[in-house]
């Protein structure tokens, strides 16, 4: 029956459908090959070369770049840094997001839509712009943060505080996005579940961990995966706040790669590093899909 139906549909396919579908499919194939798949191949190929576009160098050097990368302590340090930073940022984003979203969801709150817009404000402001605001607030002499906390911390030049400072800016910038997405998810949950649970005498905590969280799992996983991918590529906060310093304390992988690529023009070397980052992201994404029990989004 299904087969027959499908065949009938095929026969009815109009010329305009064929034109539209072929044009779009062809455009997609060309675009994604030109700007993703071919560049990935070029990066891989280039990672075996001494590649400097300014000097016009492109010389085969075998595994040399890869060996240098694997023996580079700074690279491993920056990877570890990136990993820790990403885990902390994702966790903070999810925890704060869930906390505030369920608070806004709980009908005990006045003006939820105003607050939602307010929390979203940092998300919709350009990173370069707010990074400078935070750089100023972190200033040890006249910065707002030390004044508020009554401390004398040299946030950006003290190795112990520089990374947390970048993290704080990132969390501040991004938690609103999680609040909005999770709140949207909560509004789309079936209301009768909550009512039934309330009648059965489940308290707020039980309702949250028993109903809300399990039902929100796909949304939470979505945020975790997309956040991980973007935090693994954090660059602008480092560029504005610390430039990787003090020393090399705040080197994140992307910062190191961009530094090699576009201030030293070591394209081959940077490509080898970027490929390792790519593999790590691909493996982590694959694992989280597996953990989420779904093969597709």
């Amino acid at each position: 029956m299904m087969q027959a139906n499908r065949r009938k549909k095929n026969a009815l396919r109009s010329r305009s459908e064929i034109i539209l579908r072929s044009t779009v499919a062809a455009a997609l194939v060309i675009f994604f090959f030109a700007f993703y798949f071919i560049p990935i191949l070029i990066a891989f190929y280039g990672s075996f070369h001494l590649w400097n576009p300014l000097k016009g160098q492109f010389k085969y050097t075998g595994l040399k770049n890869w060996q240098t990368v694997l023996n580079n302590k700074l690279f491993w340090f920056s990877l570890k840094n990136t990993g820790l930073f990403s885990v902390a940022a994702v966790l903070a984003r999810i925890v704060i997001g869930l906390l505030l979203a369920s608070a806004l969801f709980s009908r005990l709150v006045k003006a939820p839509s105003f607050l939602r817009t307010l929390y979203y404000l940092p998300t919709i402001t350009p990173m370069v712009a707010v990074a400078f605001v935070w750089k100023n607030m972190y200033d040890p002499q006249f910065g707002l943060l030390n004044q508020l906390l009554g401390t004398k911390i040299n946030w950006l030049f003290d190795g112990r505080y520089a990374m947390p400072a970048i993290l704080l800016l990132t969390v501040w910038k991004d938690f609103g996005y999680a609040v909005v997405i999770l709140l949207g998810g909560m509004y789309s949950l079936p209301m009768d579940c909550f009512e039934a649970a309330e009648i059965d005498g489940a308290n707020a905590m039980q309702r949250f961990f028993g109903i809300t969280l399990p039902l929100l799992r796909p949304t939470v996983i979505f945020i975790v995966i997309t956040s991980f991918i973007s935090y693994f590529q954090t660059y602008i906060p480092v560029m504005v706040l610390t430039q990787g310093g003090p020393g090399t304390k705040t080197h994140l992988a992307s910062y190191l790669i961009f530094d090699q690529a576009f201030s030293k023009y070591n394209f081959g070397y940077a490509s080898a590093m970027s490929f390792i980052l790519f593999i790590i992201i691909a493996v982590l994404t694959g694992l989280s899909f597996k953990a989420s029990g779904k093969n597709q989004l």
Partner: protein
């Protein structure tokens, strides 16, 4: 009654604290942008300016060709948003509503590019643009972003909510597929269009690295790069920078306010449930 009230107070307190944390940097920025030079270099700082002045705004506007960068960024963000919303919608529609060989493979391919970090493709892309002679050209900003995998994914998800019966009915009435997409499907995707408008406009507005690599001449420079240059060249004149930043934030906020109703509806109804 009483515990409920306590709970309400507790919740509202948490929300209020986060409101404060959210808004404080913005207030600090605004207050700073009205301070005089003497006040900024003073050792002890007050939150509010003692003698509020518009000088920093005047300086920002005159000293750094602010308006030029502003309009460069605005046209980049507008052009890119309109293009990518359209390409995402039509791709999402085709991938959702037509059955053809290789469709799943194509969609899988597009999705897989979401996890390709920018650092992998940016070096080859940069070389490609050099080879094409597109450095310092507007198309170098637009062409590599003509399609976005996230946008296509979102639009395809939203298209699943468009009932096939409507399309069939239109076909029986003799409508061709272009008419069906533009006049019937596209209006039904307005929530996704609104979400994409917010994301894409902001993405282009705050885009830094790619324009920084591509655009070299002052007259074509974008605002986000100019803000960073501003800090270096004048050893971070914060008051001027924050005056410029305060203005730089306005377009994205307006964009959000315009589209937020549909954006929120879109999230609640479908978008990211996977």
């Amino acid at each position: 009654m009483k515990p409920a009230k306590m709970k309400s107070i507790g919740l509202n307190a948490v929300l209020l604290i986060f409101s404060g944390i959210t808004i404080l940097p913005f207030l600090w920025m605004l207050a700073f942008s009205f301070k005089t030079n003497a006040e900024i270099s003073a050792l002890s700082q007050r939150f509010l300016p003692r003698h509020p002045t518009w000088d920093n705004y005047a300086n920002a506007l005159t000293r750094m060709a602010f308006l030029r960068y502003f309009f460069n960024s605005l046209s980049y963000a507008l052009v890119l948003s309109v293009i990518t919303i359209y390409t995402s919608a039509i791709s999402g529609f085709v991938l959702c509503k037509y059955r053809f060989r290789g469709r799943k493979l194509l969609f899988g391919m597009i999705l897989s590019t979401m996890m390709v970090p920018g650092v992998v493709t940016i070096i080859p892309r940069y070389s490609m643009m050099r080879a094409l002679g597109w450095l310092n050209q507007f198309q170098a900003l637009i062409v590599p972003s003509l399609f976005t995998s996230f946008g296509i994914f979102m639009m395809r998800q939203s298209c699943t909510a468009v009932p096939d019966e409507i399309l069939e009915a239109a076909r029986i009435d003799g409508a061709n597929e272009f008419y069906i997409f533009h006049r019937i499907v596209l209006p039904m995707l307005r929530n996704a269009v609104a979400s994409m408008a917010i994301f894409q406009f902001l993405w282009a507005w705050e885009d830094y690295l790619w324009p920084y690599l591509m655009i070299r001449s002052e007259s074509k420079q974008l605002l986000s790069i100019a803000l960073n240059m501003f800090s270096g060249r004048f050893s971070t004149d914060y008051a001027g920078l924050f005056a410029a930043t305060s203005i730089a934030i306005i377009p994205v906020v307006i964009c959000y306010l315009v589209f937020q109703k549909q954006f929120i509806q879109g999230i609640a109804s479908s978008a990211v449930k996977g």
